[in-house]
Symmetry: C2
Subunit: 195 residues, 2 copies
DNA sequence: ATTTTCATTGAATATTGTTTTAATGATTAT
DNA sequence: ATAATCATTAAAACAATATTCAATGAAAAT
């Protein structure tokens, strides 16, 4: 009863995987339907049978990302600095364990910079924006004296852009060595300052 | 005698500026000739009069980048750590002073990740790759005990990807606050380690 | 066993993008 | 003042991509 349904589900997954891989490499706007057809070995028509359009395939991936663990690095933490350490660890660990999720993480970041997505998607991405959310945590850490002085937005960007850039490198190039999460924390930590 | 030549040179510059701005926002492959025509207010035909094709316009920009100051952050330095500090300062200072060059910096980094460029361009970009060049400097700093222990490649990537990602943010979004260069140096510095 | 469903394809069509071209008129050179 | 040059445009030709469609056959339902 399910030989067909299984096949169908497998193809869906194959298309999603191939699409994700190409989207993060070429960028959404530069991805051709034919790239995906070649990568999956399917005909172009079949792709349209499964997903109505490239845009819908892309949105489906973003929705998977939004619903999955990618967006949720909100562990228990002792103090603001500990939050950033645990978040970094969590993200790199998940990249090691699951390459698909690593790629999804990159897709989400790229999507955030893409101005012409559907409004509903843009709104949802906005809500999940870790950088904005981190700013007050940075300020809190500065009050406690455990996070260095400086513009909180600039500190949040320094930390998260580092993570995102390194994750992009890893997603595109899985054999690259990983950084130690605590290196990145030293970006934020108070006590090394010369001024 | 020069009314026309001046106009011509100005248009060339306008096209280069507009092209650069769009390339770094959309990515080279996703940039349409029409995007550039709209941004400059010129007809599409005129663009072809100045540059033979989109590819040639792109290559021209990369060549400007290769010949300009963008690639040359090789100041005098006291020790490896000092090199990275001066390089970071240099890059952010030049971004503050000259937005075009900041955008060019981003274009060069994006180009390095683009697999289908002409071979001559790829070769030149390869030679200018700071990350590869930094690795031995990192190792030297590790011997001296001023750079933290750890995989030198991973350290070089942590530093340079942070710079590049932040520069991309600045180029796309000029009103964002700048980081302090010494924050990024703490990624590399020995002496904060807990292990 | 027959009918229905539906995954799959390749080709047709529609859309979008690139490049070339011929015509125009304003500047420059004579 | 006349001729030559050449920046400029709009439209034509060409090329690549996206999307739809009708036909096929193999699995599923009856």
């Amino acid at each position: 009863m399910t030989a067909r349904k299984e096949q169908k589900e497998k193809r869906r997954q194959d298309i999603l995987k191939a699409g994700l891989s190409i989207f993060i490499r070429k960028g959404y706007e530069a991805t051709k339907i034919n790239d995906i057809a070649e990568k999956t070995g399917m005909s172009v028509g079949l792709l349209y049978h499964y997903f109505g359009s490239i845009q819908l395939l892309h949105e489906e991936l973003i929705n998977i990302g939004l619903s999955g663990r990618t967006g949720q690095y909100f562990p228990q933490y002792d103090d603001p600095l500990d939050y950033f350490l645990k978040a970094a660890k969590h993200i790199f660990d998940m990249a090691k364990a699951d390459h698909f999720t690593a790629e999804l993480f990159v897709l989400m970041n790229q999507a955030q910079r893409n101005p012409n997505l559907s409004n509903s998607i843009k709104g949802k991405l906005e809500q999940n924006n870790v950088i904005v959310k981190s700013i007050e945590l940075i300020e809190e850490g500065q009050c406690q004296g455990i996070i260095r002085k400086g513009n909180p937005m600039a500190l949040a960007l320094s930390f998260w852009l580092s993570i995102q850039a390194y994750m992009e490198m890893i997603a595109l190039n899985p054999d690259v060595p990983y950084p130690e999460p605590h290196w990145l924390i030293d970006l934020l930590k108070a006590g090394n300052d010369q001024n």
